[in-house]
């Protein structure tokens, strides 16, 4: 018994990721936390997307189930679980059942290397970013097999479109990623593919890679930001499920629980690619303005921000509690909203405790940056009209790919400028 307790406690002083420390117990705990947090994030994202999109289009969005529709995603999830699970008669049943599992597995597996903090990752791999790109590229297999196994026209066309799209944009995405990885090799420790190592390289070089070699880092980031929207099949590149042409694309024939697996996978893939962008270019878990606003006073002020954010959310909730209709029918809803605000405020207060503050600051900054990307996804959907398929291919192959190749060469030249200049001088002196 004492040994087990010691085994569990030994990790806490190790200052490593559970995978790095080789501790099975904490690895399991971390996996459960990440999986649970991800599911909650997907549910929250479902509500936020509908609300924000509605407000962008001057509508109210869901308002009936719970105060301001807060319980709507839970009601939706229950509805999906209760729905009949249909397998079309002419479908290839085995592949039809396998496809959603491939997509979900690929979307969730990548999170074992996502660095929420220097020690807050399930594990740190030497091939971190390669692993993320490789495993997330497996999800296209699920999409393709889903479309084919449905044995129906719209899903097949949707699957063909999505595989063409995902394979095309993977190329531009890879080029942008390589240019960021080349920047890590300028650190004294040498280049790395590890997700934690990439953020530490930005810390050592005292510069986020989005600002490095301005504007090269920024261009790489923009290429990635465009390609990642296409990779996740989201608006304005959501041709695989263009509802005006293909009903629902590759998942037309899916219903109930299997459809919700596709839904889950789409949103967690969005979070995964956003975390790649945050890790590579936006300094991962590092707080903003580490150079201009440095020193222990600023450290203290920035460590208050997580708590203040939650307190601000609680204040907004209570403002809406006051604005709720005073009719007795709304009594329960008002009480529920007040309870929600109280929970948010309590979380905010807990985040002010020094021991908690020190440990969750990195997680907060990482999540906040990812959340900004999630808001961008919704904003794109509310703003841009859908691309035509030939336009999509043109952007991928004729715009992003040449810019990416040029960027790769120029990043290498700028990064090696001293060495190149030296060898040029030597060449001139020899002749």
């Amino acid at each position: 018994m004492g040994q087990i307790v010691q085994y569990i406690q030994s990790y806490l002083s190790s200052n490593q990721t559970p995978g790095g420390a080789g501790n099975f117990f904490w690895a399991t705990v971390y996996i459960l936390i990440v999986f649970g947090g991800l599911s909650v994030a997907v549910i929250a994202m479902n509500w936020l997307e509908r609300k924000i999109l509605a407000h962008m289009q001057v509508r109210l969005g869901p308002m009936r189930v719970g105060p301001h529709g807060l319980l709507q995603p839970i009601a939706d999830a229950l509805k999906l679980l209760l729905k009949e699970d249909i397998i079309p008669a002419e479908a290839d049943a085995l592949v039809f059942l396998l496809a959603p599992m491939i997509v979900v597995l690929a979307a969730f597996t990548v999170f074992i290397v996502v660095p929420f903090g220097p020690t807050h990752a399930i594990t740190d791999m030497n091939i971190g970013i390669l692993f993320m790109l490789g495993v997330s590229s497996l999800s296209v297999l699920g999409v393709v097999t889903a479309g084919w196994a449905s044995n129906s026209h719209y899903p097949l066309i949707g699957a063909l479109r999505s595989s063409a799209q995902m394979v095309s944009y993977e190329v531009a995405m890879g080029l942008a990623v390589v240019s960021a990885i080349m920047m890590t090799s300028l650190s004294p420790e040498g280049g790395t593919l590890s997700m934690i190592g990439i953020v530490q390289a930005q810390q050592v070089q005292a510069q986020w890679f989005i600002f490095k070699f301005f504007p090269l880092g920024l261009i790489a980031f923009v290429i990635f930001a465009i390609a990642m929207v296409a990779e996740t099949n989201r608006a304005p590149f959501d041709l695989p499920e263009a509802e005006s042409e293909l009903t629902a694309g590759f998942h037309t024939e899916y219903s109930g629980f299997r459809w919700s697996l596709f839904f889950l996978a789409e949103y967690s893939a969005m979070i995964a690619v956003s975390s790649i962008a945050v890790t590579l270019w936006l300094g991962g878990w590092l707080r903003p303005f580490p150079n201009a606003l440095s020193g222990s006073t600023w450290e203290l002020i920035f460590s208050f921000i997580p708590g203040l954010t939650f307190l601000a959310l609680a204040a907004m909730t209570f403002y809406n509690v006051v604005r709720m209709p005073k009719h007795p029918l709304f009594k329960i809803q008002t009480a529920g909203l007040a309870g929600f605000g109280a929970v948010l405020g309590l979380i905010g207060l807990i985040l002010f405790v020094p021991a908690v503050r020190d440990r969750v600051g990195d997680i907060f900054w990482f999540s906040a940056k990812v959340a900004a990307f999630m808001y961008l996804y919704i904003w794109y959907r509310g703003t841009f009209p859908r691309y035509r398929f030939d336009q999509l291919m043109k952007v991928g192959w004729k715009v992003l790919l040449p810019i990416g190749l040029g960027l790769l060469v120029s990043t290498a030249v700028v990064g090696m400028r001293v060495e190149l200049w030296d060898s040029l001088m030597r060449l001139i002196h020899h002749s």
Partner: protein, 181 residues
């Protein structure tokens, strides 16, 4: 403290993992040639390729495993499936699966089997014994150094020639597909 150390970092390169992954690979390989449906064959091939990536991981070569997943399972097999979907599957289902060249096949299988048995029994004396000199966490850096390092890099020429070969193949495909260039 010591028992926890023993638990914390068990070796990955064990006989259990090798036989598990090898079994998956062989079963996948057999499925590739026995399934009538080309999509099922392709999925079985993907399983075999992923098991192969697992064997690379087991051999402490994570970079090779990552490249295996991203290139073969994620890239080439997607194109395979893409092409398979565009051809008429109903006709291929009716075609005969095996041809009658069993004599040639038997000779080839016997030769290959003989080779494998020879390697299995005499492998220790045939190949030089190698030991991993670096930690697995430097695999990527070691691969890069073997390719491009100015002192130790000895495979750069071979690597670049191989990529030139692929470029020729791509240009050839474009030339064949386009009527006018």
């Amino acid at each position: 403290m010591n028992p926890t150390m023993a638990v914390s970092n068990p070796p990955v390169a064990t006989a259990f993992f090798f036989y598990l992954l090898a079994t998956i690979m062989i079963l996948g390989g057999i499925m590739v040639i026995t399934r009538k449906n080309a999509v099922h064959s392709a999925l079985a091939l993907i399983t075999a390729l992923l098991a192969q990536a697992g064997i690379y991981l087991m051999l402490y070569a994570p970079f090779v495993a990552g490249v295996q997943i991203i290139l073969y399972a994620g890239g080439i097999m997607v194109l395979f499936l893409f092409v398979i979907m565009l051809i008429n599957l109903e006709r291929t289902l009716k075609e005969r699966q095996f041809n009658k060249q069993w004599l040639v096949g038997l000779v080839a299988a016997a030769a290959l089997g003989g080779l494998f048995i020879t390697v299995f029994t005499k492998g220790k004396s045939l190949f030089p014994e190698g030991h991993l000199t670096y930690s697995e966490s430097f695999n990527t850096q070691e691969v890069a150094a073997l390719l491009y390092d100015s002192h130790r890099g000895m495979y750069m020429f071979a690597f670049e020639i191989a990529s030139l070969l692929l470029l020729v193949a791509i240009i050839g495909a474009v030339v064949m597909a386009k009527k006018r260039i």
